[in-house]
Amino acid sequence: MYRYDQYDQAIVDARVEEFRDQVARRLSGALTEDQFKPLRLMNGLYLQLHAYMLRVAVPYGTLDSRQMRMLGHIARTYDRGYGHFTTRQNIQFNWIKLEDAPEILAELATVEMHAIQTSGNCIRNISSDQFAGAAADEVTDPRPWAELIRQWSTFHPEFTYLPRKFKIAVIASDTDRAAMRLHDIGIQLVKRDGRIGARVFAGGGMGRTPMIAPEIAEFVPAEELLSFLEACLRVYNRHGRRDNIYKARIKILIHDLGADEYRRQVEEEHVAVKALGLDPPLAELDRIAAMFGDPPFESVESPLVPNGDAAFAAWLDQNTSAHKHPGYRVVTISLKPIGGIPGDASADQIDLMADLAERYSFDELRVTHAQNIVLPHVAARDLFAVWSALRDAGLAEANLDLISDIIACPGLDYCSLANARSIPLAQKIATRFGANGRQQELGELKLKISGCINACGHHHAGHIGVLGVDRKGVENFQLLLGGSGAEDVSLARITGPGFSEDGVVDAIEKVTDLYLARREDGERFLDTYRRLGMEPFKEVIYG
């Protein structure tokens, strides 16, 4: 894991003091709300329907137990005893008082954490593969690169008032667990002639105009990556639209210019800026990478201990994944209990996950973009103990990537932008399919719900997506099919007219029934949809 040196700590400490000063000026009236808003947003502080919401950064989703316990402490001390893990691998606290915010940031700084650039029209938290460092298929650990980009993007003086927010993801395997091509910039680290470099995609995103990022560069060497990103951002900062907030993301610029013209401008800019000495020496990447070395895995294989417990066996099968080191598994802790709020965890649960990480996973945890928590390095012999502890805490739902493992935005229960409530719908869907083995029968089925067109719940990337809209003052839910945020990336298509909350649950049942009736060997829901096309699904819903 990355550890701050005196410079990193000084920067975060200075930020705490800066924000304390800004809050004091706001409370004294020296700053208007309009002037304060972009300042607090750049510290992740949103004014929501009922209170301030604070979004804390979890760079590339990686935490240690000390940091995780701090999140539990904040939930307990400053919130109502829980936190909400987000699709950007961060955590949000929904019931924060403005005057407490500087003290929370000060507490976070004691464990090398912050809320810098978790909102605002700037470069946001860098996201990555939650299996980084544990996945068997990666060419390298993507997190040192993500950390390099985190530092470059932190308080970047030129890119703090971009046309719109800017999200970057870094992965390092052909399997995409981070929705890489649905980012403003997506980077896949690849190996060429024995060297690692960045394959760069730009102009992807969800929101009201979803787009899949085209490739902008097939291989940028490590020693030029930051100047290349500088060029990408400068072209966007200068030419991205500022007249219409809905057309201000880089995807619109690249769509309007065309990927070839954008690439030409970036390359021209890159020639100019790379001569300025913007790129750190490779020794800096090496310095960071040294902190992400393998933990001391035991070389003795520890085979899975046979165990007669059926619930354990189901969890083992569903929620653990192959690890690069023999005798270890990657554990995904589902934050999607049937009937619960997707991504929520109580302070006690947060503490328990920290304890398990410390004891069984070399002190490491990850937050996933699907709003779950990962223990990346668990020895097979410890799996039963981990599962037992999770079960006792209500955290052993065996539903990873099943229909009840729903991504949902906070929706109208919290969010001032929402048109519809996402959480009650997620609860209804999970309850309908979560019993009697129904979801296991359906297999991998990624269902994602957004409570408005801004698509925080990633509905465009759902095998099944649901979009809540307001229709003449009544919540209405549109159904979408066929999206994917994985390496087979695609955008979901809307089926037709929307439904009531119960109506859309019924419609989902109809399309999944059709899938069960028509699937061929080994097909996931998404595969069957792609083979059959939209028509038969529309027929069963509306026919």
Binding site: I11, H156, L278, E284
Partner: protein, 151 residues
Amino acid sequence: MADRDATDVAGDPSPALRQDAAGEQPAVTLEAFLSQDDAHAVRLEAGDDARALLPRLAQLKLVEISFPSFRDGRGYSAARILREAGFMGELRAQGDVLVDQVPHMIRCGFNSFAPEAAIDPEVLKRSVERYAAVYQRGADAAEPVWRRRHG
């Protein structure tokens, strides 16, 4: 266009931010500058292309860059482009220039400020001096931390 005084932030001239005397000639529009030979001061609107100035940079003493709203960050790129091209004269940020933006502006090469609303000099001082370390190379003299780490 009205002539704007080259007021320093809050009317408090700060030598650290100035490398030369304030321009005395009124700044003309980019269009006017390009169509006449003898102007030494130009004003760029947020959407103007700073690169249009590059062929005649040597004759310029003052470039004033407009910030119609503090949210409009195009001027930061314009400033860096001019500094990267070797412009050594006065680079002035004019408009909706707020105290919390000034440190970023300095890092992008601005060395004078004409804010529409007065800035509290005490707050400014704290703001400008707050960060002892920066992560990236800018147009200012600050050494990025990677340089300090690796020499």
